[in-house]
Symmetry: C2
Subunit: 111 residues, 2 copies
DNA sequence: AAACTACTTGGCAATATCGCCAAGCAGATG
DNA sequence: CATCTGCTTGGCGATATTGCCAAGTAGTTT
């Protein structure tokens, strides 16, 4: 169990994680994720929320779905999106506690 | 149509979260975060790990520190970086369970 | 103090992401 | 069937990210 183990994480795992993380790395997509934590919404609802062109919102949703963050279901004329990533809420709340650090250790110290 | 409720999350909160998420949204930075979960490392260690130019690694680290994901401390000739975001581990493990979804609901269905 | 070490910063080209418009498509409705 | 609705896709310019080289800095050693 102890000792020096070679990096036990594969490039594929890293890539998959990055794809999911990137699916959240945009203000509109973060807002969508936050909103969907309260329940499913159709694209038109999310468009109104985000305030961008519907095609833009649709592309955001496609990206998030491809990454596995969202799932969708068609009912009647609308397509309803919902969160697939249940662990997101607690993580985001944790992030909100995190303070940005402007202090450096090297040459770029400010005081 | 669902009820119209005013968005209870501020633009600033969204922006802060996105900054943190972006700090993880790159293969090298994800690998750095994963590695630092096991303990602090100096920049040269991380350079060897990532396999990029030291200046590149340094910029990644600066970005992560600015977002609040890392902290650093200078000891002797080296600068040691460590993870500041304690909730990252459980979130990443959760992400690893998440399956990417290639099935769509609209016109882009494949089968 | 000159040279060295460990790292950061500036600059710039290559690449990726973003967002709008226009066009397309499936299902519902007239 | 023709049209309308809700959404997706293609295309493309605008903007942001990435990574290397070169140059700079603070502390260390000789």
């Amino acid at each position: 169990m102890t000792g020096t183990l070679p990096t036990p994480i594969s490039t594929e795992t890293i890539a998959r994680r990055v794809a999911v993380i990137k699916a959240l790395a945009h203000p509109s997509r973060m807002l969508i994720a936050e909103t969907l934590m309260k329940g499913e919404k159709c694209v038109c609802d999310l468009q109104a929320l985000v305030g961008a062109d519907m095609s833009t919102v649709s592309k955001h949703l496609t990206l998030m779905r491809s990454a596995g963050v969202l799932t969708c279901e068609k009912r009647g004329l609308n397509i309803y999106y919902r969160l697939a990533c249940t662990c997101l809420g607690s993580f985001l709340r944790c992030l909100d506690e995190l303070a940005p650090d402007s202090e450096a250790c090297g040459t770029n110290c400010c005081d």
